[in-house]
């Protein structure tokens, strides 16, 4: 039966070329735009080099302290002391990466300015994040313990500072008037990974901000990596249990609120969540609503065209009805046809998005980022196709099934 519908759908496709073009154009472009957006969101939130352990990690991006009597609050990343003294003593995390948020600095080579974003890290940082080293290796406990002035730099910085085809390891790079010895060169990281992006990584013991301060707030964020994904809920619980035990708080505050969140939640909580709500649900809801809203106009357009096409087929419908086909059979047939149609448009859409994504990647629109059409994107576009096909097929099919046999046959 399905095979029959397929043959009919192809025959209909060939009938009115202009209408076919309009429908396919609408379907494929709508899906292209949806897919590129999905690929971008996918790039931003799913694990990728070097943050491939995102699914077994939790992030502590900020602490919020409140003075409940007078109603002020202060929100800021944590201090090194906080992570070392409290978070590092937790049992479930396998490793805790502690690092500062990146901060800009300049260096000059032959009077050319180079922007270098600095990040100070601990030794476990290099185990939680799996950077690819094109040269050398990371610094470890020994270098950190000795406060050695060593640096891991990105390939881009290496190229700008030392040149393309030279080894950088063992050489010195200068910024803020200090010479750092390069120990490793890592592949570039896009700025869409704000927690780990930097051009130059340095041991936290050489950081200029005092890491010894025993205030709770500072400039550090923590990535807590569990041994396995199944340990993550336990880790979140342990962190929650830890928070009330933190004392003393900074002067003037009496309540501390902080969460160890999965990656996406660290952003959604700040944008649309609260202390008790991670905001992920609202985020998904808003994104889905926007996608539906965007699909509204192409869907209406497709419905309009489908109705015109159906009316053209009234003789066929009349004959089938006269020979005893029930309304539901006809509705079913038409919806299947329309879904087949949408999938042909979808296939063109996949091709177009592939071209669009390659263009975006090669134009370096988002520096160092590589958008990908992976299974996630394809699955989502498959469902978008299905929803689109059903939405635009149901109403015309219903209209068709209501046609009277006599009228339908007479119309031709």
């Amino acid at each position: 039966m399905l095979k029959n519908y397929f043959i009919i759908a192809i025959a209909v496709l060939k009938r009115r070329k202009f209408f076919t073009f309009i429908s396919l154009f609408g379907i494929s472009f709508t899906l292209t735009i949806l897919m590129v957006v999905t690929a971008f969101i996918n790039h931003v939130i799913s694990p990728d080099y070097p943050e491939i352990n995102r699914s077994k990690s939790l992030y502590v991006a900020f602490l919020r302290q409140e003075n409940t009597k007078e109603g002020w609050a202060n929100q800021s990343p944590g201090s090194y002391y906080y992570f070392d003294h409290y978070v590092n003593k937790m049992k479930t995390p396998d490793k805790v990466a502690i690092s500062t948020l990146f901060a800009a600095s300049n260096t000059y080579v032959n009077n050319k300015k180079i922007l270098v974003n600095l990040k100070y890290t601990n030794a476990d940082y290099w185990k939680v994040l799996e950077y690819h080293f094109s040269e050398g290796k990371a610094f470890g406990e020994r270098e950190i313990g000795n406060s050695e002035k060593v640096a891991v730099i990105s390939e881009q910085t290496k190229e700008q500072y030392f040149g393309k085809d030279v080894n950088a390891v063992g050489k010195y790079i200068e910024t803020d008037n200090i010479q750092y010895r390069v120990v490793g060169v890592v592949q570039n990281v896009p700025m869409t990974m704000p927690y780990i992006y930097a051009d130059m990584y340095l041991p936290y013991t050489v950081s200029k901000a005092g890491y010894q301060s025993t205030e709770l707030t500072g400039n550090y964020i923590g990535i807590l990596m569990a041994k396995s994904e199944s340990d993550v809920p336990k880790m979140a619980q342990e962190y929650e249990a830890l928070v009330p035990k933190v004392s003393p708080l900074n002067k003037g505050f009496d309540v501390l609120e902080t969460q160890a969140d999965p990656y996406l939640a660290t952003f959604t909580r700040q944008m649309m969540g609260s202390n008790n709500d991670s905001g992920v649900a609202s985020f998904v809801l808003i994104v889905s609503l926007l996608a539906l809203l965007f699909m509204l106009l192409p869907t209406l357009n497709l419905i309009n065209i489908n109705i015109s096409r159906i009316m053209e087929r009234s003789s066929e419908i009349g004959v089938r009805k006269a020979f005893g086909a029930s309304a539901s059979t006809l509705v079913y047939q038409f919806i299947v046809e329309n879904v087949i149609f949408t999938f042909i448009g979808g296939a063109i859409g996949v091709l177009l998005s592939y071209i669009a994504i390659s263009t975006i990647n090669s134009s370096n629109l988002i520096e160092h980022a590589q958008l990908k059409m992976d299974t996630n994107v394809l699955i989502i576009s498959f469902f978008a196709c299905l929803v689109f096909g059903l939405l635009s097929g149901v109403y015309p099919a219903w209209r068709m099934s209501k046609l009277h046999v006599v009228n339908a046959l007479k119309a031709s």
Binding site: I33, Y108, S207, K208, S308, M311
Partner: protein, 391 residues
């Protein structure tokens, strides 16, 4: 004639209902896009209000400064003198971190006779206005005598003046910020400090006292227009020698502005591209449906021709039908669109919405007209004998 057209439309209400819905949604989309475009264009037309060419900003953090206020003042003065002694530096001024085109904001609440206003607060030095070449609208900028004065003298910008005082005189009035009395001594022209396509926000300037130096991490430097590439490296070295132990970054204001402009323009470009695609889609759809309708109405058109209607009249009738349909959807759309200025959603001036509505209406009419022209012409070419014979 018109009632007859309505009757024709009514007879095919199911099909036409869908067409109206489609045009209605298109109108809303176009209205949204035009609102954005008109808003950004209006902002673009407003003068920038200050001159940031050849002005650089130095951000430094984690500097270890002396503890007591007098030593800090000495320390900062040392920075100023060392920078000023560099050939190529015109002027140096310390400012709070919320400099133009930065991502920092610093807000406060002002109180005027019980009414509350939100305002940006910029902490600057007396030479800020000459460094940025700000224009005074009324009154005067600070001079050295202002530092110990009570009540605290402030200079407000045009937007803040408009929000609090409207057309009244603002000079000499006092407003209250956190129990502190502030006396307005001048009104300065708005600085478009959030980018060329954004509206300036309400704000006021207060004069930095010695206490502010402790927390300062931003230095504004105006340089000669003809400084060479080596100059910046030299400036950086000098800074490194006077601000010990800090991370230092030099940025140029024209780069910062460009980055801010990009942030306002990129979403706009994406919006226009997506809307453009939707409109092409709708246009093709409308065109197809109108064309198809004509081929279905050959009998009717043939009959009209036979009883004496000219080809032109047929074309006009079909175009008029399409335009009536769009008028219906535009009426519906305008009803929803007019809620935006009436209920003041999104805080944009209502003139923006009205202009956008007008443009969107014209756009939809043009779109429908273009889509109906060719099918109308086709219909005009129908020969009565042929069409009637088919039936």
């Amino acid at each position: 004639m018109l009632t007859h057209l309505f009757k024709l439309i009514w007879n095919k209400k199911k099909q036409n209902f869908l067409m109206i819905t489609e045009m209605f949604v298109s109108f809303l989309v176009i209205f949204a896009v035009f609102s954005m475009l008109v808003y950004k264009y209006n902002n673009y037309k407003v003068p920038v209000g200050f001159d940031f060419k050849d002005v650089w900003v130095v951000n430094y953090n984690d500097a270890i400064k002396p503890v007591d206020a007098d030593s800090v003042a000495l320390y900062m003065n040392n920075i100023r003198q060392s920078l000023k002694s560099l050939p190529g530096v015109v002027d140096v001024s310390f400012a709070s971190g919320n400099v133009p085109f930065s991502f920092n904001t610093n807000n406060t609440e002002l109180n005027n006779n019980g009414k509350k206003y939100r305002s940006n607060i910029f902490t600057v030095e007396a030479n800020y206005a000459s460094l940025f070449k700000n224009k005074m609208i009324e009154g005067r900028w600070y001079d050295k005598s202002d530092i110990p004065a009570k009540p605290f003298p402030i200079v407000i910008n045009q937007t803040l003046k408009r929000e609090i005082f409207g057309n009244e005189n603002a000079l000499g009035k006092t407003i209250i910020q956190d129990k502190e009395k502030l006396k307005i001594i001048g009104v300065v022209a708005d600085m478009k400090d959030r980018g060329e396509y954004e509206t300036p926000e309400a704000g006021y300037f207060n004069l930095a006292d010695t206490g502010a130096y402790k927390w300062n991490s931003t230095i504004l430097v105006r340089v000669q227009p003809d400084v060479d590439a080596a100059f910046e490296a030299k400036l950086f070295k000098t800074l490194n020698n006077v601000i010990y132990n800090a991370n230092i970054e030099i940025e140029h204001f024209d780069d910062k502005e460009e980055r801010k402009n990009k942030i306002s323009l990129v979403p706009l470009i994406i919006l226009v591209v997506v809307a453009g695609f939707l409109i092409i889609n709708v246009a093709l759809g409308l065109f197809g449906v109108l064309w198809y309708n004509i081929s279905k109405r050959r009998g009717e058109i043939g009959l009209r021709r036979a009883i004496g209607a000219s080809g032109n009249m047929i074309a006009k009738q079909l175009i008029a039908e399409a335009l009536i349909l769009s008028t219906l959807s535009l009426l519906l759309g305008s009803f929803f669109a007019i809620q935006f200025p009436l209920m003041n959603v999104f805080d944009m001036p209502s003139q923006v919405y009205y202009t956008a509505m007008l443009l969107a209406i014209i756009f939809i009419y043009l779109l429908v007209l273009v889509c109906a022209l060719y099918p109308g012409k086709q219909a005009a070419a129908i020969m009565p004998a042929v069409a009637l014979h088919e039936d």
